[in-house]
């Protein structure tokens, strides 16, 4: 396995230390010493067309963005994850996307998604809650502090990346909605716009895309709603403007471009489980011991590396999340 030095992989990034970044995210980007990253220069960008400045930056202007999302250049507070592995490049993360609403070809999604218009956007929180919510992005930015989370993403196709997300714990939003006592699951639904999403005009999957978590999984502090990446709003191909990120589960659980979050008392139907129940379970926890019926999940390819690495239990987050599944048969509940 050849490791690529962080300097090689992210030459364009200026790295801030974590505390500085969090301070900036919480208060104001003005305190940042790095002019290149400050919101003032937001209009200038060197990113190429397909994954250029997310439309939100232009639509809202820098001032309206939370500091954590107001960077002109891809910006992260660190160059590696907690295991010491380098972040993937902005270019890699935004040009290798599984988003069947646009294309089944991971490298074609970026250009297919260019015509998608995520602004304005509303997310509704409904179902078994005492306080149903309809939030637009402005509300979301105002209510919830946007913070950086460096997470590994492990796709069920056995490749992985390290991604510096920006977002907020979904627990904060769920608490505001105040789930009723009978609520046990959270269902998520992607926007349905066949006009803008050409994949939705075909019947390869049942649209709109749906995912679900157990309520306690959703309340876990590692589970976030992502609004950005590398200090910028999410690109369309990543599921702009808001998506789920559950780092200990296979990537398909982290549903993109979410419009509905519904609390339920029964297990929600999920898209891939629907398509092939014996291949994709409801839980879909990353687990090297449980094979997909037709392929091993024991190893993975880290994008940007050659060779393979062993897949980690719960994608390396076992210390944090294993207790959610105490006593459960993980191969039966795959």
């Amino acid at each position: 396995m050849v490791k690529i030095a962080p300097a090689e992989i992210t030459p364009e990034h200026v790295f801030l230390n974590r505390r500085q970044f969090m301070a900036a995210a919480g208060v104001t980007a003005g305190s940042l010493a790095l002019a290149a990253c400050s919101p003032a220069t937001l209009s200038s960008t060197s990113a190429p067309a397909a994954n250029a400045e997310p439309a939100l930056t232009t639509a809202l202007g820098a001032e309206k963005l939370p500091a954590a999302l107001a960077f002109a250049q891809p910006t992260a507070s660190t160059s590696q994850d907690e295991l010491g592995d380098p972040l993937n490049q902005f270019q890699e993360i935004t040009n290798y996307n599984n988003f069947y609403e646009f294309s089944t070809n991971k490298e074609a999604v970026a250009s297919e998604a260019a015509g998608f218009n995520p602004y304005p956007w509303q997310v509704q929180v409904t179902g078994l809650v005492n306080n149903p919510l309809v939030l637009d992005l402005d509300d979301i930015y105002k209510r919830y502090t946007q913070e950086e989370r460096i997470y590994r993403l492990r796709c069920v196709e056995a490749w992985s990346m390290v991604i510096p997300w920006v977002g907020f714990p979904i627990s904060a939003l769920l608490k505001d909605a105040d789930p009723k006592s009978e609520a046990q699951y959270v269902k998520f639904v992607t926007v349905y716009r066949p006009d803008e999403m050409r994949g939705q005009r075909s019947s390869i999957l049942k649209w709109p895309y749906q995912e679900g978590l157990r309520l306690d999984e959703a309340m876990h502090p590692l589970a976030i709603l992502g609004t950005g990446m590398y200090g910028k709003p999410l690109t369309n191909q990543q599921g702009a403007p808001i998506r789920l990120v559950v780092p200990w589960k296979y990537g398909f659980k982290s549903i993109k471009s979410v419009v509905t979050i519904e609390l339920t008392d029964s297990i929600p139907a999920t898209t891939w489980n629907n398509a092939a129940p014996n291949e994709y379970g409801f839980y879909a926890n990353v687990n090297p011991e449980v094979n997909h019926p037709r392929w091993s999940q024991a190893s993975e390819r880290r994008i940007g590396e050659s060779g393979r690495r062993n897949t980690l239990m719960f994608n390396g987050y076992a210390d944090e999340v294993a207790s959610l599944y105490a006593g459960m048969d993980l191969s039966g509940n795959f």
Partner: protein, 239 residues
């Protein structure tokens, strides 16, 4: 897999092209994806995930070229398109070239020559890899015995041996189908259909029926082909 049809006494460039132009066009055509891949590799333009780019391009081309080589015999026996026979060997060998590239990419770039991991992770736990590997193993003896010398040496057994290509075709389609996700079975199923068709038309009774009906519909084989047959008969029938 047959050799090229040769004809003597035609040395002008036009004559050469008339004889061999088809062979060159098909052979170079089949090699174009390889050149394109090489060009992209040389320019560092293999995308975010070069392993995946090479895998998909080599795998898909190997399979298509293999199916094309399987189409040659029926094109001759049923449609009288005798020139198809001239490219059968070339297509078969090129399919193996792509399949080998596919394998080298898998062993080297994907698994970093970690044979322990390949055995444990891929061979034991991924049935589709077993199917693909068996297909590739079957193609190797066919490539080795594709020369005129081996054809003569093996006599009737040559044809029997080369029927292994049907098994290889089935395994390849199975390999493609098996590794595809639930939402992406359409493409492999199309190839499965094409392969099924190519195998069905080889069944003697089906072939006879098709030949009779073809003759009734479009008349006997066109004269140009018969001229070629006279020029130098090729000792091959459909198999």
């Amino acid at each position: 897999m047959s050799g090229r049809i040769r004809s003597d006494g035609r040395s002008s460039p036009v004559g050469y092209l008339r004889e061999h132009g088809f062979w060159w066009a098909v052979t170079l055509g089949a090699l174009t994806p390889l050149a394109w891949l090489g060009w992209r590799a040389a320019n560092g333009d293999l995308g975010v995930d070069p392993v995946n780019t090479i895998n998909n391009l080599s795998g898909r081309t190997a399979m298509i070229v293999l199916l094309l080589s399987l189409a040659c015999t029926p094109l001759n026996t049923i449609f009288g398109f005798r020139k198809a026979l001239t490219v059968r060997k070339s297509l078969g060998l090129i399919a193996l070239v792509y399949a080998s590239l596919h394998l080298i990419n898998f062993v080297g770039l994907d698994y970093g020559f970690d044979f322990g991991l390949i055995f444990q992770d891929a061979v034991l736990n991924k049935p589709y890899i077993l199917a693909g590997s068996t297909a590739l193993l079957l193609l190797i003896p066919l490539a080795i015995t594709s020369t005129r010398g081996w054809m003569k040496r093996l006599g009737r057994n040559w044809k029997r041996l080369h029927r292994l290509v049907y098994a290889a075709g089935v395994l390849v389609v199975l390999h493609f189908l098996w590794q595809a996700k639930a939402a992406e079975r359409e493409e492999p199923l199309i190839y499965a259909g094409v392969l099924a068709l190519l195998l069905i038309v080889r069944i003697p009774s089906v072939r006879r029926w098709l030949v009779t009906h073809r003759t009734r519909l479009v008349g006997p084989k066109p004269p140009r082909v018969q001229t070629m047959q006279r020029a130098k008969p090729v000792k091959q029938s459909g198999d």
